[in-house]
């Protein structure tokens, strides 16, 4: 009697697992399909416009060849984005860690006030500031063809406001660590640099990863600054311009090829550092 019940239980579990596998396979297919389609269409050289069929009628590397030819600015866009991503990930990481460490470890006047001000500022739609910054950067000469330094400056300058994840991480570190080091005669800078920083490796890698990935998808500010000047665009702005109503008929397949080229290095980087990303995301959501 008992055995029979157990057998039926494990049978039910096996059945349940089969359904779960079916569900998960279905989910995987749904999530992978668009990217498979993207890759397939990037190899279709039968027409460069939008087509309803997934399987290429004629295979070839023509779309990729176009990207690297002198006819288009793709390489320039790619280079721009790469420079921006490098600079931004260094700058943002430093700014956020500085902000987070000061707010997590020091108790000073204006601390609560500073945090509240940043909270309230975060409630304003970000690109209200864009109109002003555009005009200011224009007088500095950082728009149009030369918008790369402008983009870097703007992305780094107020990035201290994104300190939350790093502070959440630092808050979970016991204060006794700092105190022990200070008893041993270290000053606050040494505590920061020699004790806390090495322990922050996961969160630093998380911030580096996210801030490096950000510029690859940054569309709105980049588009506003470049204002149609092709040499100053990043990949997002440039490739998006290929999908405008006027261009899509001639450029869709180039977009697909460009998308593949842009996505590959980011995916590789991401797969290597996936562990840190997952830690950062879960930690950030809990500690908010």
């Amino acid at each position: 009697m008992q055995e029979k019940k157990l057998a039926s239980l494990s049978g039910r579990r096996r059945l349940g697992n089969i359904f779960t596998y079916i569900g998960l396979s279905l989910i995987s297919v749904i999530w992978i399909t668009p990217f498979v389609f993207l890759v397939l269409q990037s190899f279709d050289v039968s027409s460069t416009g939008l087509t309803g069929n997934v399987w290429p009628e004629k295979w070839g590397l023509g779309n990729f060849a176009y990207l690297f030819s002198a006819d288009c600015n793709f390489l320039q866009w790619y280079f721009n984005t790469f420079i921006i991503a490098l600079a931004v990930c260094v700058g943002q990481t430093i700014m956020q860690i500085m902000m987070a460490y000061a707010l997590s470890r020091f108790r000073f006047r204006f601390r609560k006030g500073l945090m509240n001000v940043m909270l309230v500022l975060g409630m304003f739609p970000g690109f209200l500031t864009m109109i002003v910054l555009y005009e200011v950067l224009k007088t500095m000469g950082f728009t149009g063809d030369n918008s790369v330094p402008g983009l870097i400056l703007v992305s780094i300058a107020s990035s201290g406001m994104g300190y939350y994840v790093a502070k959440g991480f630092l808050d979970t570190m016991p204060k006794s660590l700092d105190e022990a080091a200070m008893v041993d005669g270290a000053n606050r800078f040494q505590v920061f640099y020699k004790v806390i920083m090495p322990l922050c490796k996961p969160i630093v890698i998380y911030i580096i990863l996210t801030s490096f990935m950000g510029p690859w998808g940054d569309y709105i500010f980049a588009a506003t600054l470049a204002k149609g000047a092709s040499a100053g665009m990043n990949v997002a702005t440039g490739l998006t311009s290929w999908l405008s109503a006027a261009n899509v008929a001639g450029y869709f397949k180039y977009f697909c090829a460009g998308g593949v080229i842009v996505a590959i290095p980011v995916i590789i980087l991401f797969l290597f550092l996936q562990k840190y990303y997952v830690e950062g995301v879960t930690g950030g959501a809990v500690k908010g």
């Binding site: 939008l50 309803g52 002003v132 201290g160 800078f189 697909c256």
Partner: protein
């Protein structure tokens, strides 16, 4: 105040009574909340008043009681510090004063003086098409605001300079030693290390966020638009609350502005609600499927989903939007293969309901991997013995979910849900890249579309139509909505945590 029931009394209630009890409790809490907030605001102003009183009292008393070095410091900043041997502080104070006076004479004074008119001399268009420029309203407003910030900073430093004198006098009276310049420098890596750390980030925030936002709030009270660009066609000037009046006007340029605003606001809220909660629950479901006991290849399933986070969002969003294109997109290609008519999903001929549904569905596709990651970690933190004892008590899976998993998740992720709700209200990329606001029916004011969020509409108003003043008004409204929702929800959710809890 309503009667608080004890646990035992609560158990006696049936479901209907319990619901009414909870509803009552909620509504009774509202006036209490208002009262608390009122007291908070009252306290704020009280403290502000006290601070201002102390500020002036200190200024007067320090001057009367101070020695001559202190008295001179009222006019030459840093004099007292220099005279008492604190070279570094003295030089910095003096430098601030010199720079301030030089700046105000050179440029600042001119702009502050023109702030109340934003310029009088209009640009003139000559017959041959050249323009003789007059004043520049944009510059006047921007540098005027900058100068006001600078003046405030100067007054504060001036006050610090005086306070410094008072403190130093006290220290000398107690026959202790003043901090030397060397001590000051050393404290920047030790006791005052936070100042070193915070200087650069805060300066960046002030210049690149606070100043522009302040500027745009002021722009909402001007007529800064394509016809008054402040430089080449006409100057712009103050016009009070006229732009805010637009929000309630039934007829502006042949369209019903207030109805358009209402419709977009409503859709923004509906969108934020569905985008947040569909992703949350479905993401949690996927996470639970992967976490299920006996499921193999957990890492593979997870990686498949995580891959789609790695691909820059604009690529996936744009590609998916083209999959739904009419009539050549892949989806419509499939539909026509089965002999049906192609469907307008996201373009201008789409039915508003279809477009909105498609957008929400695509957003689920975009958001689930992320939510799967977020919830996985939290789900694994739920103590396993809770489920074991529930199993022994014979609870079904569904009961375990609603009584253990869900309350725990909601408790822990409360603040996250709030930020993701407000984040979705401002989710520019998804809407802008998917539909661009389409469909755009006739009769919506200022080219608004039916999938436009406030934020994308604001973008179109401000950047495309150069209607900066109206854009600024919408921006302020977005802020108001977000702030109200945040404050109310934040006070209602239980998991408002104490930040000292861990340390």
């Amino acid at each position: 105040m309503m009667k608080q029931l004890t646990d035992l009394e609560l158990l006696k209630l049936n479901k209907g009574q319990l619901f009414i009890y909870k509803l009552k409790k909620f509504f009774y809490a509202i006036p209490v909340w208002f009262k608390k907030t009122g007291i908070k605001i009252g306290n704020f102003f009280k403290n502000l008043g006290i601070s201002i009183y102390i500020f002036f009292r200190d200024l007067v008393f320090t001057f009367i009681k101070g020695d001559w070095k202190t008295k001179v410091s009222y006019f030459i900043m840093g004099f007292g510090s220099l005279a008492r041997g604190q070279i570094l502080r003295g030089v910095l104070f003096l430098l601030m004063q010199v720079v301030f006076i030089w700046y105000m004479i050179a440029t600042g004074g001119y702009y502050v003086g023109k702030l109340n008119s934003l310029g009088m001399k209009q640009p003139e268009m000559m017959e041959d098409g050249t323009i003789i420029y007059g004043d520049n309203s944009f510059k006047i407003l921007l540098y005027g605001v900058l100068s006001l910030f600078f003046i405030a900073a100067f007054i504060y430093t001036w006050y610090l300079n005086i306070k410094q004198n008072r403190i130093n006098e006290q220290i000398l009276k107690d026959e202790k030693k003043l901090d030397s310049s060397m001590d000051d420098l050393r404290s920047l890596v030790d006791k005052n290390f936070h100042r070193t750390l915070l200087t650069l980030p805060t300066l960046g925030i002030i210049v690149f966020t606070i100043l522009p936002i302040f500027f745009m709030i002021l722009v909402a009270f001007t007529n800064y638009d394509a016809n008054h660009n402040g430089v080449s066609n006409a100057l712009f000037g103050w016009q009070g609350f006229k732009n805010f009046g637009q929000l309630f006007s039934w007829n502006s340029g042949g369209a019903n502005f207030s109805a358009t605003f209402g419709e977009i606001l409503l859709w923004t809220l509906i969108w934020a609600f569905f985008a947040t909660f569909t992703n949350y629950f479905l993401g949690m479901m996927v996470a639970m499927l992967i976490n299920k006991k006996g499921i193999k290849l957990k890492k593979v399933w997870r990686t498949v989903l995580v891959l789609s986070i790695a691909i820059p969002q604009f690529i996936s969003i744009l590609y998916v939007s083209k999959m739904f294109a009419y009539p050549d997109g892949i989806i419509n290609g499939l539909i026509t293969k089965f002999g049906a008519e192609p469907v307008h999903f996201l373009d201008d001929q789409a039915k508003p309901f279809v477009a909105r549904l498609t957008v929400i569905l695509i957003n689920i596709w975009i958001g689930i991997p992320y939510l799967m990651l977020v919830t996985t970690g939290i789900l694994m933190n739920i103590p396993a013995d809770l489920y074991e004892s529930a199993n022994i008590d014979g609870a079904t899976k569904w009961q375990q979910y609603t009584k253990i998993t869900l309350p725990y998740m909601l408790f822990v992720t409360g603040p996250y849900l709030l930020t993701s709700f407000t984040g979705n209200m401002n989710n520019f990329n998804v809407i802008y890249l998917l539909t661009g606001g389409a469909p755009h029916p006739q009769g919506m004011a200022n080219g608004a579309g039916q999938t436009d969020l406030l934020i994308t509409w604001l973008f179109n108003l401000a950047i495309k139509d150069s209607n900066y003043a109206l854009g600024a008004v919408i921006g302020i409204m977005v802020f108001v909505v977000v702030a109200v929702i945040s404050v109310v929800v934040y006070n209602l959710i239980p998991s408002t945590r104490n930040e000292e809890e861990f340390q």
